[in-house]
Amino acid sequence: MKKRILIVDDVEFNIEFEGKVIKSLMDELGIDIEIDTAYTVEEALSNIAENDRYDAMVIDMNLPDGSGVDIAKAALKKSEETRIAALTIYPSKYEDQHAFFDLFLIKPIMPETYKQNFGRLLGLE
């Protein structure tokens, strides 16, 4: 079954890079995916509101119009089954927000580590 994924980041490079890494991993595993992207909290919230639940999300914590935590809260409200990863340079800054996230991914992204962690996020490895 197709996995639905949302990538939220305000940096074009990261959206593109993460998309490529995720696609490459899913190709290796033979899993179909559909990737949505959002550059702001607002866009991400409307993505969540207007679509079926996502299987996984990777949310940049430093967005221009707010915090990734708000997106995670909205996603969990819609479905507790959505697996959510936070993407940040400084994971220790968000220690008190761990309840909203299944995983913390560290920037800058390295493809092999990201693949491994994303697989873990979806419970694939």
Partner: protein
């Protein structure tokens, strides 16, 4: 003695000079900085001054000579200050001045006045003394926002001044203010964000082909414009990136940047042009190295035949078997391998017999002054001849003038790189240069 600033009588003072002691001085500074709502109003310089050890004079000129000198010194120093400034005694032969910069005073000027004052002799009884001093300067808020850090910076700067000889002033503009240890820590902390946000970017230094008489490639060089320190040298931040695991992300950025460059070249009709990327031995020896490169080559518009990896001789010190396997896999992707800084490091010539090297980059030390040094010329010729015999190309680094270029050319190396041909330039400027150059052809 003129009493500076408003200091309560209960505050601890140095009994000899009646100047503020070190501890209350720190309190005073922190109080000043913590109440800072507008840093322009509290712009401050700290001048850390260390004099000769004056106690040495006691043996020769009698007990208390040092005390007399210290009293005179303190008085003379006080006279150079404004009422807003504070002078404190930080040790037997150390003083600190807090200079209020809100009135646009220049701490370097004050330091010069102090040095000038010291050029006049001190007289105790009938003896004449000349006193040496070194001064280091730090500024709030540019060099830190607490007394401890500012004093430490000023003191470290003063030590640098001492290294250059006594009677020296070292003014530390904020971009080089911290001690190298503290700066290293800061740079390491800032590296991930700098890679992310594009503060670290890539310049392109063109490489000229002697045989084709045109620019046929460029080396990509990481540059960092730090918001606080200004340009941070790659010699400084690359080793720190290696230590902190950031050299992999940096290489990823370089290759993605290269892919953008190739897209641009294509749209401008520039083909047959290669880019060289520096590969750190630390990243090269990582288990994830090859997979990362393979991923980038698959996912981005990159073709191995237009990419060269520059490795340094340092990798040859590591596990050679693994290295050869990795290099062979890169060759299978068509990536060219260049041995950088050749001739300066650990290379045993026999490595050239079995390593899959396409190009030697001859270090600039062989080139610099080759027009005036017959031995350098002979060495250079030998390297080029040897490379030709091994079917290995030669790039000459650091060609800086026409005289060097003329001599180098006669030995027929493949390519040259250096300020004579071009300094490292922005990608867009490179494209313009290539278009211009092609037009001339």
């Amino acid at each position: 003695m003129q009493q500076h600033n408003v200091i309560s009588k209960s505050v601890q003072v140095d009994p000899l000079t009646k100047l503020l002691d070190y501890v209350p001085f720190i309190d005073l500074l922190n109080q000043r900085f913590s109440s800072d709502s507008d840093s322009k109003k509290t712009l401050t310089a700290l001048l850390f001054i260390e004099f000769d050890d004056l106690a040495q004079f006691n043996d020769i000129f009698g007990f208390n000579t040092d005390d007399q000198l210290i009293i005179q010194l303190s008085e003379k120093l006080s006279l150079l200050l404004k009422s807003e400034d504070v002078l404190a005694r930080a040790g037997d032969n150390q003083y600190i001045i807090m200079q209020d910069l809100s009135a646009s005073e220049n701490p370097k000027e004050l330091a010069k006045h102090i040095m000038h004052m010291l050029s006049e002799p001190f007289v105790v009884d009938t003896n004449i003394f000349y006193i040496n001093a070194s001064i280091g300067i730090s500024c709030y808020p540019m060099d830190g926002n607490d007394a401890y850090r500012l004093i430490k910076t000023a003191k470290n700067t003063m030590r640098h001044a001492q290294k250059d000889g006594k009677n020296n002033i070292a003014f530390t503009p904020h971009r080089v203010a911290l001690s190298s240890y503290e700066k290293s820590v800061r740079i390491m902390e800032d590296l991930p964000a700098a890679i992310e946000n594009g503060e670290i970017y890539f310049a392109y230094q063109p490489q000229y082909s002697y045989t084709e008489e045109r620019f046929i490639g460029a080396e990509m060089l990481a540059r960092w414009r730090h918001p606080e320190y200004g340009e941070v040298s790659p010699e400084f931040f690359i080793p720190l990136a290696e230590k902190s695991g950031m050299v992999g992300p940096l290489t990823v950025k370089a290759l993605v940047d290269a892919s953008k460059a190739f897209t641009l070249f294509e749209s401008e009709g520039i083909d047959d042009f290669s880019l060289s990327v520096n590969i750190s031995p630390v990243f090269l020896m990582r288990s994830t190295f090859y997979k990362t490169i393979e991923f980038l080559m698959e996912q981005y518009p990159l073709s191995g035949k237009n990419i060269n990896f520059e490795i340094t001789e340092e990798v040859l010190m590591k596990n050679t078997d693994n290295l050869i396997k990795t290099l062979e896999k890169l060759k299978a992707l068509d990536i060219g391998i260049e041995l950088d800084d050749f001739g300066t490091g650990y290379t045993s010539l026999q490595h050239l017999a079995y390593l899959p090297i396409d190009t030697l980059k001859v270090d600039k030390s062989f080139v610099s002054g080759i027009d005036k040094n017959a031995k350098k010329k002979a060495l250079f010729k030998a390297i080029v001849d040897m490379s030709h015999a091994l079917n290995i190309d030669v790039i000459v680094e650091g060609v800086e003038n026409s005289s060097e270029d003329r001599i180098i050319k006669t030995f027929k190396p493949t390519k040259a790189q250096g300020y004579f041909y071009s300094r490292p330039i922005h990608r867009d400027v490179l494209v313009e240069k290539l278009k211009q150059h092609n037009k001339q052809d």
